[in-house]
Amino acid sequence: MSDAGVDERGEAPVSVSKETPEAGPPGVPWWRRPPFDDTRHLGLVLALLLLCAVGAITQPDNFLSTGNTVGILVLAATIGVITVGQTFVIIGGGIDLSVGSVMALASVWATTVATQSYGPAVMALCAILVGTGAGVVSGLLISYGRLVPFIATLAMLVAARGLAQRLSDRRTQLVQQENNAIVELSTTKVLGLPLVVYIFLAVGAAGWVLLNRTTFGRRTFAVGGNPEAARLAGIDVRRHTVLLYALSGFCCGVAAIIIMARTTTGSSTHGDLYELDAIAAVIIGGTLLTGGRGTVIGSILGVLVFTLITNLFILNGLQTSDQLIAKGAIIVVAVLLQRRALRSPT
């Protein structure tokens, strides 16, 4: 199908041109366009800098240490990768509640005795296939089964968790010694950073390119902005929806590899409540919950904000319950700011 002109017609009224990948001057090749065309991430960057300042002032020795920086990035990697997939789903007008469970299922499946006996590469492949497979199932239920995304992925949330419990017999499955290549992803450092951080960066960069510089990305905005217009413009909306959830599942599979590396285990308890963290990070990252508008960079900044808050709280000896309150407050403030930005003419 031809994509020329699709975007103009596929654009929903809400997806203001400033926010779309077509915002760059026409005729300029994508590698020449600036990565940011406006200042919409300024608020988040400021928030991050503010949090860093708080850390540097309250815990000057510990916060600025290399160990802490590495620790923050490693912890952000798991949820960060999931968030990239979630960003696509939400921009495409859906929501994926199953991310935490699917990651748990993928980690459990990848650490079964059967899979482990074939070695680390098969384990990694298995995690990705299981994740993507779960995403495809959700996508099919939504686009061809006509289930509301909320319901379909809620079903996947509980079913995947149950299946993970069943597969693992509710036990924690250790990554065996001979598959240490998986664990080494978090212990081997290149230029001071563990490999899992590079996986995170690679997924983030790939996500950014996919969203901003490809047909797939343009179609995602179109489908999320106004599915009917997108359909009239010749986009196979149903197929695209399946692909979006498959992408989210794929990211869960990658996250499963990271969590196996981090914890040296596959477990049905992994990723509990990750769906809330991922969705919250996407929302405070500036992506509209109604679809059609959003950015990968914003989501990643959102993840970093949350990871930093947890880090700062523990560094200062504060309790978990206070962290939850702070997170809640941040979500509310971010969404309120977003709404103001929407109301103001762009």
Binding site: L154, A155, G162, D169, R170, T264, N311
Partner: protein, 355 residues
Amino acid sequence: MRDQSSPSRPSRRGVLFGGAVVAAGTLAAACTSNAEPSDGGTAAQGGTLQGDNDKPGKKVTIGFSAPAADHGWMAAIAKDAEAQAKKYTDVDWKPVEPTNDINQQISAVESLIQAKVNALVILPNDGEQLNQVARKAMDAGIPVINLDRVFPDKLSYRTWLGGDNYGMGVSAGHYIGKKLKDAGTSNPVIVEVQGIATLPLTQERSKGFADTLKTYGFEVTDQQAAEFTVESGNRVTTNLLSAHKKIDALWNHDDDQGVGVLAAITASDRDEFFMVGGAGSANAMREIKKGGVLEATVTYPPTMAGSAVKLARLIAQGKGMADLVELQVPQSITLASETITKANVDTYMPLGFES
């Protein structure tokens, strides 16, 4: 022990949705073999009661109800009880489906009362909420052996048998306090990775720990709560290690989450401190044997389930405990929290449970 306050959220929602996906998944699950490394022989204990109590006696039926096996520890409870019961030819074993749903557990216990079993072993999801149905059993003349989580009403059980959460803190406190004192450490940095902070059992553990450290003139520098999962243990410890450039000792309340704690320590390349675990999993014991950061763990043994079955049988048969002068089984038994180190790990290994 673990999930007092967290009745399984997913499984309840699971009743509503996703049946079809579960069915498809089950089929797939059947295709992936998942034989766990054989359980560390949790059932290997036995024959500890002296005298002729183990000889076949009057035929008795024992009912059993416990929460679902969400953790290695709870899985070991069910397995251990069953293994012990199967050892006796005079015991008719009647377990009901394990569940984290309080209402389901109540009706399961009611069905056992209807079945007129001779004794009941109950590990309640919540002692307060199961109290009434236990009382009903007692009123119907069925002795209830209350396992671990205690019923508030003493009329609701014949005998209570359980672990000592405060004692876990005491054992961990003694190991850490003594070692640091002997090394002449002053103002040591002692950190604590708790389980779910809101649970009374967690608070008891922490209190025992703090009280014991005080006798050495030490105090806990920092404590953070995890959620009894590998992932939460890993996350909290990663941050805790950043918070303290130098640590002298770390106590982690739970060996299941301890796997994640250890992974965080390994990833950080830190080894200036030593760590003590909690519960006594086979995995932790292997780490202790190997020698490394994890030097000791303090027990909260799931073998208490096997002991409870033994006591249920004795009570139902009207026997006493041969080591005591008493004619009957005592009303309350609190297990000791023992400290497992490299020196005695081989003795305890057969009792370790796989997490």
